[in-house]
């Protein structure tokens, strides 16, 4: 009954009567939308503000009836203009920009009409943009300004408050820096992503044996094994690269949950296929088909990484290269080991079926957990 407690406390302290414990909307928020089209051009600024915050600074309700009409806003334009320009400042490359108001309109946010002010900042110098000011936040510690800035195809966000009232455009990472960073992210994702490792292992295990009369026999030479591995892993790579690109560019959007379920299913199916030598011809289409699913999984992982300020190409390319390097690392570690064991009886009769069974069972458990 924590809600009632403070209400009671107020009654005890000051006899204020019935109090209300919950709120019918979130705390005050305004929205800044910036367009940063070029390093030295004007900055387009749109500011959506709640009238409930503005009335603490600017007198608008001229007839004192509690309702702010569109006409009252028009009449208060000079005062509003002065207040808006006093509450917001924009700099570029360390030099102050000249802010001008273009027009006033309205926008609906959180089921309320917000005043939407279009502005333009003319900046004498090129460079990174920074923005700050009182932003109608003084006097309300819970007030926040949510900022969204478009820089080319990159979307930048920020949250300003009375305690932290300044936003500075992040430095655009060089393509090389981004590439290196996202290669690392790709490697890391595969290494900590047990389900992807399980699927790659299931693709690898039968690559050192061949089905003959319904039984596994050790492959004859390393060249044959290498061709098989390269074919299978390449098919998997092509497929997951396609869906990763489609998902990251926003061309295709799928919910996370069915993807996670399908990835678990791919492991269960791959485990089952490995138990039946006659089905080995399905390995290539399975690697390719399920590769599409795993690509969406990689895209989900990539979406978890803060990529503000990074261009798409190094981000996507780097992550993909990282994933491939991690996969190749697994191949390089596992393949020599299983190649050396391929002709032993206990590989075809033990390691391969038991390993596939264990990984397949893990896939079934994940499948159940994720459904």
């Amino acid at each position: 009954m924590k809600k009632l407690f403070p209400a009671l406390l107020l009654c005890l302290v000051a006899n204020f009567g019935v109090s209300l414990p919950a709120f019918s909307h979130a705390a005050s928020t305004s929205f800044l939308i910036l367009d940063l089209p070029a390093r030295d051009g004007p900055v387009a600024v749109r500011w959506d503000l709640s009238l409930h915050d503005i009335v603490w600074v600017v007198f608008i309700d001229a007839d004192y009836d509690g309702n702010v009409t569109w006409k009252e806003i028009q009449d208060a334009k000079p005062a509003l203009t002065n207040a808006l320009l006093a509450q917001l400042s924009v700099q570029r490359g360390g030099a102050p920009c000249t802010l001008g108001i273009q027009d006033f309109a309205l926008a609906v946010r959180s089921e309320q009409n917000f005043l939407s002010v279009a502005m333009q900042a003319a900046c004498p110098k090129a460079g990174l943009v920074s923005l700050g000011g009182s932003l109608f936040m003084s006097g309300d510690a819970s007030q926040r300004v949510l900022l969204s800035a478009a820089r080319g195809k990159a979307q930048l966000t920020g949250v300003l408050s009375a305690a932290e009232p300044l936003w500075t455009e992040p430095e655009q990472a060089s393509a090389w820096t981004s590439l290196v960073r996202f290669i690392g992210e790709g490697i890391w994702h595969v290494l900590v992503g047990y389900d992807h490792i399980a699927f790659v292992l299931l693709l690898l295990l039968p690559s050192v044996v061949r089905p003959v009369d319904g039984k596994w026999h050790g492959a004859t030479g390393f060249g044959q094994v290498t061709r098989d591995v390269v074919t299978i892993i390449t098919a998997f790579t092509i497929a997951h690269s396609i869906t990763l690109a489609l998902a990251v560019t926003g061309t295709v959007k799928l919910p996370i949950r069915p993807i996670e379920v399908a990835i678990a299913a791919s492991i269960a199916v791959a485990g089952a296929v490995n138990l039946v030598p006659r089905l080995s011809k399905l390995r290539l289409p399975l690697a390719f088909g399920f590769g599409f699913v795993h690509g969406f999984g990689f895209a989900n992982a990539l979406s978890e990484i803060d990529s503000q300020g990074s261009s798409l190409l190094p981000l996507l390319g780097g992550f993909n290269i990282g994933v491939e390097l991690a996969q190749l690392g697994i191949v390089a570690l596992v393949l020599p080991l299983i190649y050396s064991m391929r002709r032993t009886r206990w590989y075809a009769g033990g390691v391969l079926p038991l390993g596939s069974c264990a990984l397949g069972m893990a896939g079934i458990v994940w499948l159940i957990q994720r459904v």
Binding site: S19, L20, V55, N67, K71, A107, V159, Q369
Partner: protein
């Protein structure tokens, strides 16, 4: 997904990107078009005077008076921004040695509103070290401790309140009963609530509502849903605008199968998020989509702002949408903050729905350690263990 914290971080980033995006602009054709009603949000004459006095001299007395007026407004007008205004007044003063007891207590209340329970409790600890007989501070600390599941500490505070009986014995007895119930002593708690001093010592309607709501909760936990519903109904009559009682009654009605009654109860003007998510969960078709979209937008805005006050509601909404991973992530986060009956239950439901054995085990361990008992949660845990 690798852990609730990461999932919540991802959702917050996604929310920030989506919420801050542009909404369509328009220009009204009619000059008389009412853009907003600002009657409640702008300062009235009394508030204006308090504001001017505070600006002229931002001392203890002026700060406490203005902050009290703001908090009162926040509650009576359901305007959270006034809590922010109270915080802006109190924050510069509250941590200073010369801060008065009312300033520190009011600031603790603001922190509690923001779900900064740790900060609130520390402030109240210091205040009670200096003034052990400050019943208001003790009451607030008992409230914070009950919310956080610190039942032994709450018991000590509530016992002192019941003995001192400042503000009425009902409050102290109800508080003590809630603290005993936290440790699993449901029978003793019910006996305490039914005792003469608890029932008749004062007639303050809010204190009576608190007592009845506490007894209703105990009855719910002791497999007496009908008794609980009767008590919740009585409590709501005494405090008709208390959304936590309304939400608890709706939950109890829905659990009994009275879905229509629960829906009707929740259908009020300007519902809080707690009521909105319950309405969404109990609705169907287009209405459900509409309510769910409103609640989702509300949560997205709070996530983008960095607020952390509605994880319980986020978990409830995600459960209604069968998004078990998100429900569990939010329920776990919520349980780190608060451990009242709805928090315990939503965690149990989310862990069960996600088939997360470790989360179920962690909850079971907490219940073993504290002695907390709730028949519904115990049923969910038993079902989780057998499946």
């Amino acid at each position: 997904m690798r852990g609730p914290a990461r999932l919540m971080a991802v959702l917050a980033v996604a929310a920030a990107t989506g919420v801050a995006a542009a909404a369509d602009r328009f220009v009204p054709m009619d000059a008389g078009f009412v853009v907003a009603n600002v009657r409640q949000s702008q300062p009235d004459e009394r508030l204006h005077e308090l504001l001017l006095a505070w600006r002229a001299n931002p001392g203890n007395g002026e700060s406490a008076a203005l902050a009290t007026a703001y908090i009162d407004r926040a509650r009576t007008l359901r305007e959270p921004a006034f809590f922010g205004r109270a915080e802006a007044v109190l924050a510069p003063l509250a941590q200073k040695p010369e801060a008065s007891a009312p300033v520190r207590r009011l600031y603790a209340e603001v922190l509690q509103y923001r779900h900064d329970f740790n900060g609130a409790e520390k402030l109240l600890d210091a205040l009670l070290r200096d003034a052990p007989h400050d019943s208001d501070a003790r009451l607030l600390r008992a409230s914070v401790r009950l919310v956080r599941g610190e039942f032994a500490g709450a018991r000590a505070d509530c016992a002192q309140l019941a003995v001192a009986a400042r503000g009425g014995a009902t409050l102290g007895f109800a508080c003590l009963a809630e603290a005993f119930a936290g440790s699993g002593d449901l029978a003793r708690s019910l006996a305490l609530l039914n005792s003469e001093p608890a029932r008749h010592a004062d007639a303050d309607p809010l204190a009576r509502a608190y007592l009845l709501a506490t007894r209703a909760e105990l009855r719910e936990r002791s497999r007496d849903p009908n008794g609980a519903i009767l008590d919740y109904c009585e409590a709501l009559k005494l405090a008709p605008r208390d959304d936590s009682i309304r939400a608890a009654l709706a939950d109890a009605l829905a659990a009994r199968g009275d879905l229509g009654d629960a829906r009707d109860l929740l259908a009020i003007d300007k519902p809080s998020l707690a009521l909105l998510v319950r309405s969404a969960a109990l609705s169907e078709g287009a209405q459900r989509s509409n309510l769910s979209a409103r609640a989702t937008a509300w949560l997205a805005l709070e996530a983008a702002r960095g607020d952390a006050i509605h994880y319980r509601e986020e978990a409830l909404l995600a459960l209604a949408d069968a998004d078990t991973a998100r429900a569990l992530a939010a329920a776990v986060r919520n349980f780190e903050q608060q451990r009242e009956l709805p928090d315990v239950r939503v965690l149990a439901r989310a862990a069960h729905a996600a088939r997360d054995a470790s989360a179920l085990e962690a909850l079971q361990r907490w219940m073993r350690e504290t002695g907390y008992r709730d028949s519904v949660t115990e049923g969910i845990l038993a079902d989780g263990a057998s499946s």
